[in-house]
Symmetry: C2
């Protein structure tokens, strides 16, 4: 038996296979290979990247020299550039904007082979703090309307370099999927005077059906209408619209949560490729009461095929309640 | 220099790399392997599928026996089933519907190794006619609100069986991506009293910048804001909302168009995996003046990564005008 489920934020429907759930052992993939050689992100190779924007924890050396704990550089092959214009053009029925934006790479730590589950909590905190700092800096440029922080891990998830890194893209428009979430949440707020994400968290607090892991201020869960098998979300328990309002006293808590969730995914799914994305309220949004920032983590276990491409209607072979149980039971301690 | 482009139908934005366009030779992939062995879709193995819904061109043998030219069977592992309920439930903040629907497989021809570019035009016509007939039959069941016909070719595009086949899924809801197109087109119509697709075709008629191939009644082109490299659309030149209004006298024309486009893609991109999807007006739509049916063909050349997943904002490394030129120049004749 299958079930159709509607995501309460975006009204996106998902088919969930609840009869023959696909389990971790049903997925085949190659573990991610490791090798450093001439890696542009390894200490000593700083000249291989554009000059750094900022480095953290430098104990020795100068700018663009080894000795850093975390390093942020412009993407060498940027999707968008800060030097481009934001001019808007019509071309008959078509619209165009110049390629203005920012595209940065966060080199998460000096060690080529240490991913988030392998790092000390202090280093994961540093990664999160650097994300927050970059958002705070970039939002000063009022031409930006959205900042996306994301990570591609493994070739199947679109990573072209192995060294642990995440990316930031600042955009002059609010992308359609974010708009869809924001509009869906605003609609719910208009009707109920409540945040839809807070409603989901309250329901989960009573039911405990989807929870994977809890820390004091954060929860990790399998979303009820997740599009992908083992899709996992991390949310602040208390209402908060914007990722960059994250206060210092909650950094350790979030670091422990992220390390735990990624460690459990690695353990249960045998080191799969994955993506994570931080969804935060758009920079010019005037309704912070409607939106609730969160991290979406998507292991790459299935192909997106004609049905998904044609409809935006995803086929999820693993019910979220099955995924959350498997991840909850995995013995990984941060 | 990059460019941001807005799809005039869905308002979806795309970044297009116009400075260093990725060309066909820049993509690496394995050609699709061929082998028959114990294929459930080969003649003689009819017992390996559920009993057939319909067969075309049978010259010998009875039902579920060899001798057919095209065969349609229920999917053995259906995403949705006709026996399920359409009951709607609320579960706190969540919505559910029973797994009602239909999921069929169109075995396109008896030969395991002959794909659309290899077939006689009459056989491609038969495929298209069978699509149309199934839509006409299924729309009698008023519980259906949308019928999607699609094809996954090659493992990277999600195909699990090699024998040439396409699929049909009939749904009790209108999926979000289709709704997005329909709503975007309706908005344009409200403002201009014109079909946005017709507007695009009129502009292309004057500019000839994106055209790949023309037949009397159909055009094949690279969409201005295509999400994927070498994404190709086939559209009827005259306004028509629904795929199943396709008349017999235009079947040959569409067959020649589809064979030509898929042949050119195979030639230029070295037999890549691809998906195609027929986008048609929802069954209960009351505004056929706004929508214009079309086929979207998407070669699988890039990974969908965190940026696309996080934003619904795609990064297209090949400008559509570069793709259309390469495909236009490819010498494949139907």
């Amino acid at each position: 038996m299958a079930q159709l489920r509607k995501d309460p934020v975006t009204s996106r429907w998902v088919i969930v296979n609840v009869e023959n759930p696909k389990n971790p052992r049903d997925f085949n993939f190659k573990p991610v290979a490791k090798s450093s050689k001439t890696c542009p992100f390894c200490p000593g190779n700083e000249a291989m990247t554009p000059p750094e924007i900022v480095a953290y924890g430098r104990k020795s050396g100068g700018k663009n020299m080894p000795g850093w704990q975390l390093r942020i550089v412009p993407n060498k092959f940027p999707a968008l550039r800060i030097e481009e214009s934001t001019d808007k053009f019509a071309f008959g029925v078509y619209d165009k904007i110049g390629g203005f934006g920012a595209h940065e790479v966060i080199v998460e730590n000096p060690d080529h082979a240490k991913e988030i589950p392998d790092l000390e909590i202090e280093q994961v905190e540093l990664i999160l703090r650097s994300y927050r700092d970059r958002c705070a800096d970039l939002r000063k440029d009022t031409r930006f309307r959205y900042i996306l922080i994301f990570k591609n891990y493994g070739a199947a998830a679109g990573a072209s370099l192995e060294h642990p890194h995440s990316q930031l893209i600042a955009l002059p428009i609010v992308p359609s999927r974010v708009l869809g979430e924001v509009k869906g949440a605003a609609k719910h707020f208009e009707y109920t005077d409540r945040c839809i994400f807070c409603d989901m968290l309250n329901q989960e607090r009573a039911q405990k059906a989807l929870t994977i892991h809890e820390e004091t201020h954060f929860i990790g869960l399998s979303p009820f209408a997740g599009r992908f098998p083992f899709e996992t979300w991390v949310l602040p328990k208390a209402h908060e619209a914007s990722f960059d309002s994250l206060t210092d006293d909650r950094l350790t808590d979030l670091a422990r949560m992220l390390k735990t969730i990624l460690g459990k995914i690695r353990l249960v799914l045998n080191d799969p490729a994955y993506n994570f994305m931080i969804h935060t309220v758009p920079l010019d949004n005037k309704q912070p009461e409607c939106f609730h920032w969160h991290i979406e983590i998507i292991p790459q276990l299935t192909q997106i095929a004609g049905f998904e491409l044609g409809t935006g209607f995803y086929l999820n072979p693993t019910p979220p309640e099955v995924a959350s149980k498997a991840l909850k039971n995995a013995q990984f301690l941060a």
